[in-house]
């Protein structure tokens, strides 16, 4: 099993006619994801990779009964694309686009939440349920089905971890990249809840970084979890007050430092790995291998 996406996922690609959208659609289809429609305003009636393109998400949902949408729309229009998908009635929206203004996302995240729609991202690599469905830009090749759930604020770092796990014969259930922006639709604690409810996820790896207090909040929830969690925090040596690419990685005051996160997690009984190999060691340990 898995969380969020699987063989029942019926996917719309918003921005399918763009370079990024088209490339990743081909990758997702190659992985076996059921891409049922594309949306690009003004390009309704065309086809991309054999997938019908519509002018609006509502039309696409009506015609194809899609339940999930992934967004590759340029930053100035991406928040609107999320809102459109939320109103059109999909259950899950994955926003890959990076560089969306914070203000747009505040409005969008608040709206999507009250509509009861799940948003992953923005500025995230999406998610993958190994062997079932890829809804994102993750390199499907490195994933192998298995018992480890991953949730991360950082894309490439996650691939490193997955690569290490797979190379040791440890497979994954679902891997969710929640994105590195300050305002995101789904946070660590939301995904941890889903993994906790998934009978096939035996261990969870949470890959955090400096900035915000998502990890601290997650630590509170982990105290109640039955499923063991292994963690990693990047940016331990980042100097205070410097931006490290992710707007999220800003340290302000005592909150959001690597130290505060590591302490909170350790207080919750979570092993915090110091290196990527150590993550895999601790996962193997938790699995009793």
């Amino acid at each position: 099993m898995s969380i969020l996406v699987d063989g029942n996922t019926r996917l719309i690609v918003q921005g399918i006619t763009g370079r990024e959208g088209q490339f990743h659609t081909s990758q997702m289809m190659a992985y076996g994801t059921n891409v049922v429609a594309g949306v690009t305003p003004g390009k309704g009636g065309q086809e991309v990779l054999g997938v019908p393109v519509f002018d609006t998400v509502r039309e696409a949902v009506r015609a194809t009964d899609a339940n999930t949408s992934i967004i590759f729309v340029p930053a100035p229009f991406a928040a609107e694309a999320v809102l459109e998908a939320a109103e059109a009635g999909v259950d899950l929206i994955v926003c890959i686009t990076e560089g969306i203004p914070v203000q747009d996302m505040i409005e969008t995240v608040q709206y999507v939440r009250r509509q009861g729609v799940r948003l992953i991202g923005p500025n995230c690599p999406g998610l993958i349920s190994a062997g079932q469905a890829l809804v994102g830009i993750l390199p499907g090749r490195i994933f192998t089905p298995g018992p480890v759930g991953l949730v991360s604020r950082s894309g490439t770092l996650t691939y490193e971890v997955v690569n290490e796990l797979s190379s040791r014969g440890i497979g994954q259930s679902t891997c969710v990249g929640i994105g590195g922006d300050p305002i995101i639709g789904t946070r660590f604690v939301d995904v941890l809840r889903m993994f906790e409810a998934d009978p096939d996820t035996e261990v969870v790896v949470m890959i955090g970084e400096i900035g915000g207090s998502d990890e601290e909040e997650a630590a509170e929830y982990i105290k109640e979890m039955r499923t063991p969690v292994v963690s990693f925090i990047s940016g331990r040596t980042a100097p205070p007050g410097k931006r490290m690419g992710h707007a999220g990685a800003i340290i302000s005051g005592g909150r959001g430092t690597a130290q505060s996160k590591v302490e909170a997690l350790e207080a919750a009984g979570v092993p915090v790995a110091a290196t990527i190999t150590e993550i895999a060691d601790k996962v193997a340990e938790a699995l009793g291998r």
């Binding site: 950082s154 894309g155 770092l157 690569n163 909040e217 490290m244 690419g245 999220g248």
Partner: protein, 377 residues
């Protein structure tokens, strides 16, 4: 991007938030002329993009034009925490009865704009918040509802602001909210917001942070950004579209993905070294981007070795290798460069680099260790 006091105050004035009369001076003579114009006591304030100016001697009062000339002479050219002072703001120094703190910013945990008000303004608000949290009151806004008068009343009552100041406070609060919205400011801060002896509320100091992601629709502010910049290498990197931060070590770092790059910095420290920079080439980088990145890192005289750490997801390792080869063709590489390529097309990438002066590394750890060792040799 951060705006300095004079930039923030220009926006305040434009929006109708009261600020003291004043202007920028670049020389002591200009400072004297401005003080003359204003009359009475003036404040002379170093314009640098960093806090703690007061403690560093960057803010001084002057009783009149001649004293303004004198303190401007002292401040201009001084160094405030690493920033040379090229401009001072000379403005009227009113008689202050009480100092408040007022700001709006983004709360990532609550995913909302938050207003912060305190009757204990003027000092370091974070210190007050830590020691007397009850003196710093907050209010989170619903994006659909926006800011209402009752919000401001609620804040003011909780912060102990006297009722006779409500109308002025409400007008100022509405304006900073308007600035946050219309200018994509992720922080608008007035500290102190002073009540003068004549009862008026005036913004004596202002800070503003503009959301970099929104500069595409903030043309006027984007131009300020071009003009300002921090470290010259950061300005150069920004021009080339790179996410670059100058640090104080000696191992140059290039990687793809912020998390991976930060972990690389951590690994360099674990290996006994110190990184010279943070540089993220992002996802799916082409050879051209890699070339730009390496050129920027190599132009830093502090760099004694370079570590290139790429995990190919969308990014193709062969593209990265081609970018590296292009740099080697065009410039003389004066320091050891360690390259670790993994993931998509790693074989092809490694093959392209075989027989070059670049040092290959198989793992993350090995790469960090080699780069640190090379720098210390």
């Amino acid at each position: 991007m951060k705006l300095i006091e004079s930039q923030a105050k220009a926006i305040f004035a434009e929006t109708g938030i009261p600020v003291p009369p004043g202007r920028i001076a670049r020389t002591p003579d200009e400072a004297r002329a401005i003080a003359q114009e204003i009359g009475g006591r003036v404040a002379v304030k170093a314009q640098v993009p960093i806090g703690g100016r007061g403690k560093a001697g960057g803010i001084k009062l002057a009783a009149g034009p001649d004293e303004a000339y004198e303190v401007a002479r002292q401040i201009l050219g001084m160094d405030v925490r690493g920033y040379p002072v090229e401009r001072v703001l000379v403005e009227q120094a009113g008689s202050i009865e009480q100092e408040y703190y007022l700001s709006i910013t983004v709360d990532r945990d609550r995913q909302a704009h938050v207003f912060i008000l305190s009757s204990a303004g003027g000092m370091d608000i974070e210190e007050i918040a830590a020691q007397h949290p009850e003196k710093v009151v907050k209010l989170w806004l619903d994006a659909g509802l926006g800011l209402r008068d009752f919000h401001i009343r609620d804040l003011a009552v909780r912060a102990g602001v006297p009722a006779e100041l409500f109308p002025q406070l409400a007008a100022i609060a509405r304006r900073i909210y308007e600035i946050a919205r219309s200018r994509d400011a992720s922080l608008v801060e007035i500290n102190p917001l002073a009540r003068l002896s004549d009862g008026r509320l005036v913004a004596l100091d202002g800070k503003m942070e503009i959301d970099d992601n929104a500069l595409f629709r903030q043309k006027a502010l984007a131009e300020l950004k071009e003009a300002e910049g921090d470290h010259p290498l950061e300005v150069e990197a920004r021009k080339r579209g790179l996410q670059y931060v100058k640090l104080d070590g000696y191992v140059g770092v290039i990687g793809n993905g912020a998390g991976l790059v930060m972990t690389t910095l951590d690994m360099i420290q674990r290996s006994g070294g110190k990184a010279a920079n943070f540089l993220d080439i992002g996802g799916g980088a082409r050879a051209e981007v890699v070339r730009n990145a390496l050129e920027v890192v190599l132009s830093d005289p502090d760099v004694k070795s370079v570590l290139i750490n790429v995990f190919g997801g969308i990014t193709r390792c062969d593209e990265v290798a081609r970018g590296l080869l292009a740099v080697m063709d065009s410039m003389d590489i004066r320091v050891p460069v360690v390259v670790r390529l993994a993931g998509t097309r790693e074989e092809e990438g490694r093959k392209l680099l075989e027989g070059t002066a670049l040092t290959p590394a198989a793992t993350f750890q090995e790469a960090a260790q080699k780069a640190v060792a090379a720098a210390q040799r």
